[in-house]
Amino acid sequence: MTDATLRSPISEPARKKSSLLAVDALTKKRNRAEARFKAYGVSAVVIGLLFLVALLWAILSNGLGAFSQTFIQVPVRLDRTAIEAAEKSVVKTSKYRAIINTGFRAALSKAGIDTDMDDRGLQKMMSSGAAATLREFVLANPDQIGRTVTFDFVASSRVDGYLKGRVKREDLVHDKNLDAAHLDLVDQMRKADIVTKTFNWEFVLGTDASDSRPEQAGMGASMVGSFFMMLVVLLLSLPIGVAASIYLEEFAPQNWFTDLIEVNISNLAAVPSIVFGILGLAVFIQFAHLPQSAPLVGGLVLTLMTLPTIIISTRASLKAVPPSIRDAALGVGASKMQSIFHHVLPLAMPGILTGTIIGLAQALGETAPLLLIGMVGFIASNFPEGLGDGFLAPNSAMPAQIYEWAKRADPAFYERAWGGIIILLVFLMAMNILAIVLRRRFERRW
């Protein structure tokens, strides 16, 4: 067969000459398709961002309130006999409350406010943690006994809510925690500058408090818990994930074992996170005897959970590196290992970092597995004392804390849960910023 025997469409052009400035019908159609396609793209991004804005709006509008807090200024006379009596009782703090009450009454009358409220009623104005604050101070500064010291006591959640507009006068009819008389008092105290609303550092830096003291609860300790967990996750899942991907993508022979690993990894991605919790409980706590509620265990469980995400994204981007790059390196006598670590890996970096960003985001926000290894609940209201403690001492984590708060009865916790989400997101962005910057630097086309 020779070419000449065939009718050639080239000698009789199928398209007639046309002006470039006048767009022909087919091109118009194709351009419309192009415009549509691009519009889909724009709207996809816009839709995504709109949802983000909607969610952020919900988060911010519900949660910003948690960042301010009402305090009541009370000068308290640290009377030795009263303190000694209090120290003798079973529930010492309840006696300290009485000491505060005395001071509080004095402060009120000094400001020219008189009230016929009984002690219980007065106590409702202030957090029940006030007594603990006082006791702690006394134990730490025995030399101050006998003097009068002015404290900024945290106001109770209802009073705080009143100043934030969350608690309304008419809502208090059925409320046994506060009534309208209290609000009158608050109004007067505000005039007298006894109550102040300030930025709530305690919320950012403090520890969790029990259900009866929402006003005292803070994210600090759980932030530390999340920090140590993420440290474990990052230090384990990134190197292990990348190493596993390199092995699978570059070294593994094509055989059933490789397929088995491959299927396994994608399957692990679909394992519900709570199952990882079951695994963590069985393996790390019951078998390996690691302590309960420890961020180390949480980190290990979340590492296992994050690995598939990192491996899948890393493998996809390793696959996307053109073979000619590998050839080039091998051709100058680089070993396979060198060609991968020197050339392929840097080119796959954006994908690896994306996997890390998404994987860590997921790990940071995960609650269910923590439920089973004991990191959800009311956990250690103390900060870890050192590095080792940070990994091993019982602690909660931010999402667990938020989840707990969201369940609690007092509406003030609801506000805190949203506030906690704000902190979590800030933490997330801080955590990812490095990866995002790095990714931009590695992104290139060839």
Binding site: V167, H174, S381, K407, A409, Y414
Partner: protein, 324 residues
């Protein structure tokens, strides 16, 4: 290996608020570290509790129900033989609806008729035909039936079924019809009573009371089942219904006037007493009058104080185990 020095507690999320209040106060008032209180459910807590004795296991399990015999057996098999049972009080279960809606005063029969899958109409067992509360009881407004009841994972559901639905079933006399249909089998008849309708008017809530509240928020016709403590903290959004004419409160429940409540417990491994620092002190602190008594912080928060608290205190001090 480092020795553990704080008490470890796990279990019921219903007991958790009370346990956390006590744990916090315990940490503040004693030299012992604040105990760790995990949540995760009564069952999960008891399961952890029964894995064995030793440092690596928890010391106390909170439970919103009594431990089951089968569980006691498993415990014993794993070496957890001596268990101290501590009843801390009662959890009141209340019915509440949106604060701006009409108020209700229910009887168990109303709930049975509104929610049961089948009811007896004119002597015949039929699929529940009622769509509004007025259909159930002419005294009620014509508000569509929409009930948010605890899901089957919750212990509260059991109480709700027994003390409200079955009671209503008995009160209406429908149970006799079922018994007849089942050939005199009382168990089967009760089961028939308890089966809730699945046409969407009764919604199971597997989450917490906050979820129930959120659902009422998005559907104002809804009536939900709550814990007393939860309701008392949210009186700005909810109004509570009376049951058989009694308004639920810590007092009416403690006196037994209000019928729907359940006891709350915690269980201590006796073997851990003397090993884990502060364990016994914690238990005694918990049941002391200043804490669990009617004027203590727990009652303040919504726990119905146990009228027989003194006996519990004694048992704790004497380390009386179950079955002794």
């Amino acid at each position: 290996a480092e020795a553990r020095d704080q008490i470890q507690i796990a279990g019921s999320s219903t007991v958790l608020p009370y346990a956390s209040i006590v744990a916090e106060a315990f940490g503040e008032n004693t030299d012992f570290p604040t105990p760790v209180v995990e949540s995760g459910g009564s069952s999960a807590g008891l399961k952890k509790f029964c894995t064995g004795v030793g440092e690596n296991t928890i010391d106390i399990a909170n439970a919103s129900r009594k431990i089951k015999d089968k569980e006691v057996k498993t415990c014993a098999e794993n070496g957890v033989a001596d268990i101290i049972e501590v009843r801390i009080g009662y959890d009141g279960i209340v019915f509440a609806s949106d604060i701006n809606g009409p108020s209700f005063s229910f009887t168990p029969a109303d709930w049975y008729k509104a929610l049961s899958a089948k009811v007896v109409v004119d002597g015949k067992i039929v699929d529940n035909p009622y769509k509004t509360w007025k259909d159930v009881n002419p005294d009620f407004p014509a508000q569509p039936i929409m009930a948010f009841v605890p899901g089957t994972k919750h212990g509260t559901r059991e109480v709700f079924e027994e003390k409200v639905i079955v009671a209503g079933c008995e009160a209406t006399g429908d149970i006799e019809a079922y018994k007849e249909a089942a050939g005199g089998d009382g168990k089967a008849a009760e089961k028939e009573c308890m089966a809730l309708r699945t046409d969407g008017l009764s919604v199971d809530i597997d989450g917490d009371y906050t979820e129930t509240l959120a659902r009422i928020d998005s559907n104002k016709d809804g009536i939900g089942v709550f814990g007393l403590a939860f309701y008392e903290n949210n009186t700005d959004k909810l109004q509570v219904a009376t049951m058989s004419g009694v308004t639920p409160s810590t007092e009416t429940i403690a006196s037994g006037e209000y019928p729907v409540s359940r006891p709350l417990f915690f269980y201590i491994k006796k073997a851990h007493i003397g090993v884990i620092p502060g364990l016994k002190e914690y238990a005694e602190f918990f049941v002391s009058d200043e804490i669990a008594g009617p004027s203590g912080p727990l009652a303040q928060y919504g726990l119905v104080a146990d009228p027989e608290l003194a006996q519990t205190q004694e048992a704790v001090t004497a380390e009386t185990t179950m079955g002794n």
